[in-house]
């Protein structure tokens, strides 16, 4: 029995390796093989050829929203339309640079998550759209308008894609954000000014010098007195670059803010609402808090 069990485990491992290899090969081909096959739900078939948008060609696919993807770290988008009689839906697979980019994009778009209890992967599904994140992929399936039974078809489409994506570890940057006191749904991943804009305005452009490569995490925290503050933690390649980012922030702090004190490794300021902010470096990390009710010590 023990030998049989070992044989089974060896088969499982081999099958797993084959799946991973197949997935890697598929990615080299532009993620076409991640698409749901025709008939993923009875009657639904592919409608035309898939389109692949690589790098900055993304803008040819999403007009006005491409910058956020590119800032986060985007590689390719594979788009396939499906049809069943008069019904249609579109599956978009965004291959991001890494799992943090995929999760950051998902968080920026998911709103309050309403998952289907039968589907374990991280997702949210509405009446005519499902968003999914797994590994370095962000997947969107959309029907033109709500229709009876469409949600189930969307879940099936997302499941068909997710089954072909290898599971991965959570992005390591998540460890930068303390869990205690974190407001549900408020966590964000930032790699540039577009992401920053949604959280707080500290200055023009890429004021933290994230440059699409440095990863920051941000979240809202409610204090005991009910006040909400924003915490941003960015991890730079070196302590020197973290210090450089703080220096840049001091030099280019938003004109609606006033600096109360700034020195070696710290900044204290007051914002346009009379709330306080503090920034400080510790090794490779730059930590910023805004929306503080009381002036922090330098």
């Amino acid at each position: 029995m023990a030998g049989q069990g070992m044989q089974m485990r060896a088969k499982d491992v081999a099958a797993g390796i084959m799946m991973i290899l197949a997935a890697v090969a598929a990615r080299a081909a532009g993620d076409l093989s991640l698409l749901p096959a025709g008939g993923f739900v009875q009657g639904w078939s592919k409608d035309g050829a898939a389109r692949v948008y690589e790098g900055e060609a993304l803008y040819d696919h999403i007009d006005g929203g491409g910058e956020a993807f590119l800032e986060m770290g985007f590689e390719a988008c594979t788009v396939q339309r499906y049809r069943r009689g008069p019904e249609s839906l579109t599956v978009e697979i965004y291959r991001m640079a890494d799992p943090a980019a995929a999760l950051g994009t998902y968080w920026a778009n998911c709103g309050r998550e309403t998952p289907d209890p039968s589907f374990a992967e991280r997702h949210t599904v509405g009446r005519n759209q499902i968003l999914l994140q797994k590994g370095a992929d962000y997947v969107v399936a959309t029907g033109p308008e709500p229709a009876p039974g469409l949600s189930k078809v969307l879940v099936a489409a997302a499941r068909a894609v997710a089954d072909k994506i290898p599971a991965g570890e959570p992005p390591p940057c998540l460890a930068l954000l303390p869990k205690e006191g974190l407001e549900p749904g408020s966590a964000r991943i930032l790699r540039g000014p577009i992401g920053m804009q949604a959280m707080v305005t500290l200055g023009e452009g890429d004021v933290l010098l994230l440059g699409r490569t440095v990863t920051a995490v941000a979240g809202e925290y409610k204090d005991k007195d009910g006040a909400t503050r924003t915490l941003i933690v960015a991890e730079y390649p070196t302590a020197s670059s973290a210090g450089g980012a703080l220096h840049h922030l001091i030099e280019h702090l938003d004109t609606a803010c006033s600096i109360l004190s700034a020195g070696d490794g710290h900044l204290v300021f007051k914002d346009y609402k009379g709330r306080f902010g503090v920034a400080a470096t510790e090794g490779r990390k730059l930590t910023i808090q805004t929306g503080l009710a009381k002036e922090p010590a330098p």
Partner: protein, 403 residues
């Protein structure tokens, strides 16, 4: 279709003047700054959000027309709400038509026919600027457009002199603005954008839509060019989408030469922390070469393009279509943030309208747990418009009437 010369624009249509403006732009580095008109003190009260030099001062020098912004009702906004206007995401055209009539009457204090007379003459060519972006989720609904067309027709304007308009031809079609849906009405885009490698240049190497734009009428932003704008695969890709690539964003000839009045039908949605509603719909829908403007001048364009006489003196009515709303993920449609809002918002003053809608959008975002960055940069353009005399941006001077 009649073409009426536009009185207040004559100076800008003079080639000598155009050369003069370009010369001014060149001279600006020597101390003459086009973007700082003779209202410098007012400017201090509500700072222009960016120091990029533009030609807004020249717009303001053109005498205002009879119907110039902010129109007869500065600071007045009407919200007409009916929960029956949409059921299961399907808009009820009859209810929307009633809401349109009620909202218009509340705004003007007059009947539909009298309201028509307030804004139009029978020989007007009326452009209805729709927002098709985000269709079918969060675009201007065809039902609202139908109600407006019916009103204009009842007032005596032939259907062919009503022009449903947006920048892009394919977006109009995708959003349901087709000849089948609106027989007899003119449906016109400012440009086409070739897809899938189809040709978009003529034998001279110009964009196929280049002639649709009036090179005598432009919004100028010094040093802001389309070359190398992030998000485009190449400068050619930019040119395909934006027709021209330099420091000039030309107004569509439709706007400068054909239309005599404009009705602005925006959608109720966000763009990041800001909104993409009335002023954005026209600010970025009247001119080409806009990709260069988004990052450095996003909201400022929403004010300054509306200051141009071709828009300022023709825009008589704004209705923000809030039957459907989207509080995040905009301006593209994003089902996660869609909500039934069941409201239409009316104003002759697009800046007061944007302010009222911005405040409701912020309240909705807070209610839904979306982080709100309420930095003044997202509303500064409304105060700036007030200093230009284009509308009311100060919330304390705006009255919202709910019916």
């Amino acid at each position: 279709m009649s073409r009426k010369p536009y009185r207040s624009l004559k100076p800008a249509l003079d080639p000598d003047r155009r050369d003069f403006l370009k010369t001014l732009g060149v001279c600006a580095a020597g101390g003459l700054v086009l973007g700082v008109p003779d209202f410098a003190e007012e400017k201090a009260a509500a700072p222009v959000p960016s120091n990029v030099e533009t030609n807004v001062a020249d717009f303001m020098k053109v005498p205002r027309g009879k119907h110039a912004l902010p129109g007869p009702f500065p600071g007045k906004v009407v919200q007409a709400t009916d929960p029956r206007s949409m059921k299961d995401r399907r808009v009820d055209p009859k209810i929307v038509s009633r809401m349109f009539a009620a909202g218009l009457a509340e705004l003007t204090g007059k009947s539909m026919r009298e309201s028509f007379g307030l804004f139009f003459a029978k020989d007007d060519v009326v452009g209805i600027k729709v927002n098709p972006v985000g269709a079918p989720l969060i675009n201007t609904t065809p039902a609202l457009v139908s109600a407006v067309v019916a009103w204009l027709e009842e007032g005596g304007i032939p259907r062919k002199n009503v022009v449903i308009w947006d920048r892009f031809d394919d977006m109009l079609k995708e959003a349901g603005f087709t000849q089948d849906r609106f027989p007899g009405v003119t449906i016109e885009s400012l440009q086409t954008m070739a897809d899938d490698g189809k040709p978009w240049k003529n034998a001279k190497g110009e964009h196929l839509s280049a002639d649709h734009f009036d090179q005598e009428a432009y919004y100028y932003a010094k040093g802001i060019v389309g070359k190398g704008v992030a998000g485009y695969a190449s400068d050619d890709a930019y040119a395909n989408q934006h027709v021209f690539t330099g420091e000039y964003s030309y107004f569509g000839k439709l706007v400068t030469r054909k239309l005599t009045k404009i009705i602005n039908l925006a959608a109720f949605k966000n763009a990041g922390n800001g909104i993409s509603m009335a002023t954005k719909n026209l600010g970025y829908g009247s001119v080409c070469n806009t990709g260069r403007l988004h990052q450095p001048l996003f909201f400022r364009v929403c004010t300054e393009v509306l200051a141009a006489p071709w828009v300022r003196d023709k825009l008589v009515l704004n209705v923000t279509d809030g039957i459907r709303g989207q509080y995040d993920g905009g301006p593209m449609g994003n089902e996660q943030f869609f909500f039934p809002n069941h409201s239409l918002y009316f104003a002759t003053d697009p800046f007061a309208l944007d302010r009222a809608c911005h405040d409701q959008m912020v309240a909705k975002r807070r209610a839904m747990g979306v982080k709100v960055n309420d930095h003044p940069r997202f509303t500064d353009y409304l105060g700036y418009a007030q200093t230009l005399g284009l509308g009311i941006g100060d919330p304390s001077k705006i009255t919202l009437y709910k019916i």
